[in-house]
Symmetry: C2
Subunit: 408 residues, 2 copies
């Protein structure tokens, strides 16, 4: 994309009430706009990142046979009363409609997906299956000061699975856990993300969170470096040793929860009388699992965990563009290179603007694409482009005819 | 996709309060689920259709240089007060949050996109540009009885354009109008959709709607067959002749509005003081256009306008699958054909279930894929498959080795 065509630009002035680093960096670079506390628009660069995270998650959900659906933001009050959460869930947004009925703005979808599954499950033959969606959720937060880490409105993937029995759920739970590990690797958070033991509720000893280390995290986790896992605050209150090796050498760190997986058991099946007939005709309750990941939260977490004093450093697979091509008054030649790279399938943001070299460099650092490719009279004299990786400090000259292969 | 893997099935019992044809047909075939009046989930088959409509619209928006963004459902009360619509728009959902502030659930986004544009427009150099989103909207409807034609929660594409002057808007308006014509052609509504003159507001003599003929439509339009256009009820009250040829031979028809395009002029620019400096440094207001299409409404309209007594007949480019492959007790051979078709890039729903031929035929008609391909002992004796197009009554035998080419 040509930067002269992009309607956003990097900004110097930020909203005064924005105190989180991730939102400041994303606002400054033109990835998001703030509409209210905890409510953001995603602008072209930001939506590109979000869509890349979305495609990675979709692929991994398809790899565990998730069937994609899309459930609504609205659910009738009665659905939430069936589980007792109309009263007990303090972050639930409630809204009165002109049909005289009340609705919740769903912060999670057990109250919608369980009655949905009930319409299609009669006998053991229909089980197991799993459905997922990538959809906007709402939470009535008292304070929303953490940028994309905690929004009133945010994008989530939620997967719900339906099983014959606990053994079926247990096996699927492990498969989804592996898919989550692949997701965090692919979005660039793998090294800083810990599989973390959390409280399991009534159907399982543990549930699990995926916690990413960051100074801005609201959670505290306790890491066992030997097993490369962690336990959260709830668990350490009951047991101060690693659940796997028993070691008590645990390292305390700040972290943000980027995903969670939970064995629901029959909690929601019981609330909605979701059962099936087994091979002998006996009625049994369906055993459920749920598996969440926040997409906008991942985006915010990546920014918190991957930046320097000059701006964001996007991991390769979720960068808005792979290459930021900077032309210093040589647009004719740069146009040609832009065309060649684009035709080779490389995603290029092309700074064809008539502004100073300093401004182009500063913007490239703020925006944070993996490769900065500079074309100037000087580089062209050597039939080259100057290529610098975002996270490195030194650049190197690459021959123009080797450029595509180099950045691909 | 194998039908044994699909968690939905065709249903015999429908919600008693569902009176619209489109919702009944889509519920029966397992495309959607009803959560509340005017509030639906999109199930795997339905989401596939919606995503195809989405991709067609995105392509056409990119063809008119639309930059994709995603704005939130929430907007602060103050934004809506700036335009006077907090009080005047009766379908506006209002919600109180625990930060003691009030928010609207946006039914349209002028109140969000205009302040957004203001952050990036300083001078004439930034203009023109256009942004679009495909996003969930909310309308506080008193009654919602038309299925996907009028929802409390629905998916829309909205494009907003920003121009130096009226001439710039006029030229862009015509380009988007052409893109809309292509969209309605591609989703299969071209023949029944009329470019319809509507009231223009204060900045233009006319705005325009795209109206699709259907018995279930809530609108009345007056068609000039000579010019292949229509005028709506507002216009006929003032002028009972064709705005193009002046003919008074107008045919009255029921229709549903599937899109609208509107010259906003400076209405919202004035409300938010959105201006720019021209080349001489003088301050001028930005001239805006807005262009809407309802995606879920298109899906409902297609079902209303393309079905027979046995079920839905999907147009080619938005069908959930191109081929519905039915195996009558010859799954081994059918597995092979399924694999070959899929590898050739043909989208196949494969009925590999152990149910009667009659049930398979009935379901294929309900679901409505363009090609029904039947494999049985009898067809295999002739080294063939029996192929029937959904809208035709007769089938023909096609040699297995010619099948891929035939349905591609």
């Amino acid at each position: 994309m040509r930067q002269t065509q992009l309607f956003t630009r990097t900004l110097k002035e930020l909203p005064k009430d924005e105190t989180s680093y991730n939102a400041q960096a994303l606002l400054r670079a033109g990835f998001i706009d703030k509409v209210a506390a905890g409510v953001y628009s995603f602008l072209p660069l930001g939506l590109r990142v979000l869509n890349k995270i979305r495609e990675i998650i979709r692929e991994e959900m398809f790899s565990v046979e998730g069937q994609e659906i899309s459930m609504p933001a609205f659910a009738p009050k009665e659905n939430w009363e069936s589980t007792g959460r109309w009263e007990s869930l303090d972050i639930l947004f409630k809204i009165a409609a002109s049909d005289k009925k009340e609705y919740a703005l769903n912060p999670t979808h057990e109250e919608v997906v369980t009655p949905l599954a009930k319409k299609f499950i009669y006998s053991y033959r229909e089980l197991p299956f799993a459905v997922f969606q990538i959809q906007t959720k709402f939470r009535n937060e008292k304070r929303a000061k953490a940028g994309l880490l905690r929004g009133r409105e945010f994008l989530m993937k939620d997967l719900y699975s339906f099983h014959l029995d606990q053994a079926g759920l247990d096996a699927y739970y492990d498969r989804v856990s592996d898919a989550y590990t692949r997701i965090f690797d692919r979005v660039g958070l793998g090294e800083k993300t810990y599989f973390t033991f959390a409280s399991g509720g009534s159907f399982s000893k543990y549930s699990h969170e995926y916690q990413t280390l960051t100074e801005s995290g609201e959670d505290i986790i306790y890491i066992c470096d030997k097993c490369r896992l962690a336990i959260n605050k709830e668990i350490i209150a009951e047991q101060n040793t690693c659940p796997t090796c028993g070691s008590s050498e645990l390292r305390e760190e700040k972290a943000v929860e980027v995903g969670n997986i939970f064995k629901l058991g029959t909690k929601y099946s019981d609330a909605f009388a979701l059962g099936y007939s087994d091979a002998s005709g006996a009625k049994k309750p369906v055993v459920m699992g749920c598996f969440g990941i926040g997409l906008s939260r991942i985006m915010g977490t990546v920014v918190e965990s991957s930046h320097d004093e000059r701006g964001i450093i996007w991991p390769e697979y979720i960068a808005p563009f792979r290459v930021h091509l900077l032309s210093l008054n040589v647009n004719e030649k740069a146009d040609e290179i832009y065309k060649n790279l684009t035709e080779a399938g490389v995603e290029v943001l092309y700074d064809d603007r008539d502004v100073s070299a300093g401004e182009k460099f500063a913007d490239a650092d703020l925006i944070g694409c993996p490769y900065r490719v500079l074309i100037s009279k000087k580089t062209l004299e050597a039939e080259s482009a100057e290529v610098k990786k975002r996270e490195e400090t030194t650049a190197e000259l690459i021959k123009i005819n080797e450029l595509t292969a180099y950045v691909q």
